[in-house]
Symmetry: C2
Subunit: 372 residues, 2 copies
């Protein structure tokens, strides 16, 4: 069902989108401010995929770059809509709607900036079902819609169009180079597609799921209930049905470097629960990729590995990780369409150079670092 | 006067263009082969700027990349014309002619590949009057024609369009990033302009000058005359009126690294002439930038510093420099339009990070390393 989003929804949406960012996706805080600035008292139509006509034309919009840079380099504000306009001009066709390419992090907000400026609706779906670091890691691509041509807008009005045909990895490779030289952040429009393609290739209703998660966490806090139970309750009504606590502990080490346009590193957490004393380890490339304890994988991409405050469940991004933080680590199962062999080839462990096979989080052993 | 170029002209043109490449510009040998392959027995119309109508539409074409890579990474052959077609489609206008952006090195040949494939004429002019390492170092830009939008074609059919408005340095910065990720070489169409703009901003008749230089060197060798006298005779009839021998000697050291998409380094030459014993030094970034002897600048960019074989006058590119080569170094004056304050701001010493002021080669002292 389509619905109207108001500025009052944005804090909850930002919280839920940060959770779905699994450590990456860029902090939505700045995106939220951009939307608020443009939206005022108006509303944005969030269009359910079922309400989208098959021949409507959708142009997704997003920000690309290293999250560590995104929080410091504030956009001029004109770039998101400029990227859409560049692609419209290039294709000679106006968009009927925009859409997120990823529902996690700042990219839950960028299409809302475009919608607030242009009056276009935003489709309640995305191409990652979470956040991923690369533009080729899209369910769109997995199911046959390609990213090219991609339009890229810079803060000084730079306009770049990249068309690599069906080679989405080459598109990512070239767009990343331009983004790095724009200072580490660029705004993009890509994966233009029909309503029929959206219904076939997008992960549905992830924007409303992010809002529901953020709202449920807030309500639980206000009513002194467990936000973790609230998260599980929301997820049980979605395609992300399984959630598991993987670790409760204290952050004791964070290695992080911004390299090749990405934030890469790992975090160590000393468990306080159970009998476990070995550190719990999370490896990330913008997003958390794999969690290990006692030499065993306990959750692995594309399943979601979310670090949150141990009491409030406030999500913590990789660039926000600090020594001494008391955290819980959650493992959340991804929808079936993100676990097919084709999907795993695009954004499973091997796509990140990990040697482990994907195994669903719900089939792995519960680690000793989890709350007993 | 316009004229017809045949395949038989290509070896002489390549030789002259290598000389004007001042060590860079990429070895024209591979470009020559590309032209020969397409041209066969046909001819290419070389259009004198005076024969160009003011409203004709000219799209220059070129290869960009590090010369050290260009000699190893052979183009598929389709890229030069593809770059022109991308820009034509983007602008919604067909070109009436193509033109070199630089007359030195391989970029004397790339427009000929396009001409042989498309039947377009090639304007006898260019935007560098030699070779320079960066796309912003153009007389076109100096006199008010900007490079954007630039079209870039890759060997696997990649299509990129970059538009940075009037900021030609930002265009270079972004196009270089894409070129590096294409493996170090890309093919570009840029600086689209009218016939009137060509007449106002281009260095005229540099393609015919390159051919005349290459032919004069060959004739002198065949007739056992001095090729150096032949070079001076040709130049005396052009805007490049002054030529001076700066050094005769043996290459004793070459430092060269391919970095950030450029070939950078320096060469030391032990003079054999006169009383000089200190080494003669040339610093290069793709092209030779400054020549020094005994702590004094003896020639500096944008004047041409050309290293050639000491007997045959065969030009030697920076990537062809080897220990033990017996060479002469020539200093050649550039046309007045390349020595104005605006021109020097774009491609004078400061544009390369050199602290020395430009001084015309004909006003500097003849070094002790020159032939007596």
């Amino acid at each position: 069902m389509s619905w109207q989003l108001t500025a009052a929804d944005l804090p909850d949406l930002a919280r839920g989108a940060t959770l779905l960012g699994t450590g990456g996706g860029g902090d939505p805080y700045i995106g939220k401010m951009l939307v608020e600035q443009v939206l005022g008292d108006r509303t944005i139509t969030i269009l359910d995929p079922d309400d989208l006509a098959v021949d409507q034309f959708v142009i997704p919009t997003a920000q690309m770059g290293a999250p560590t840079v995104m929080v410091e380099k504030i956009p001029a504000g004109t770039e998101p809509t400029l990227s859409l306009r560049i692609l419209e001009e290039h294709l000679g066709r106006r968009a009927d709607a925009t859409m997120p390419i990823e529902c996690g992090g700042i990219n839950s907000m960028i299409p809302l900036v475009v919608a607030a400026e242009t009056g276009l609706p935003v489709v309640d779906a995305d191409g990652m079902g979470r956040a991923f670091p690369e533009l080729s890691m899209e369910t769109f691509a997995v199911y046959g819609v390609h990213g090219s041509p991609l339009a890229l807008a810079g803060e000084r009005g730079e306009r770049v169009i990249i068309d690599t045909g069906e080679d989405d990895r080459q598109m990512e490779w070239l767009a990343r180079a331009v983004t790095i030289r724009l200072g580490g952040v660029g705004h993009i429009a890509e994966y233009a597609m029909s309503g029929a393609d959206v219904r076939r290739t997008a992960v549905p209703r992830t924007l409303s799921m992010a809002l529901a998660l953020g709202r449920a966490i807030r309500h639980a806090r206000e009513e002194h209930r467990s936000p973790f139970v609230a998260i599980a309750d929301v997820l049980s009504t979605t395609l992300y049905s399984h959630v598991r606590e993987l670790c409760v502990g204290k952050v004791i080490d964070v290695e992080r470097r911004t390299t090749e346009g990405f934030a890469k590193g790992r975090a160590l957490i000393a468990p306080v629960a159970g009998t476990a004393r070995e550190p719990f380890e999370i490896t990330f490339q913008n997003e958390n990729l794999v969690a290990r304890h006692g030499g065993e994988v306990v959750a692995i991409v594309p399943d979601l590995i979310c670090v949150v405050d141990h009491e409030s469940a406030e999500p913590i991004t990789t660039e926000g990780l600090r020594y001494g933080q008391r955290v819980k680590v959650l493992g959340i199962s991804t929808p079936a369409m993100m676990r097919t062999p084709a999907a795993l080839a695009a954004f499973g462990p091997a796509a990140f150079g990990l040697s482990e096979q994907f195994r669903p989080v719900e089939e792995l052993a519960v680690p000793a670092s989890a709350q007993l």
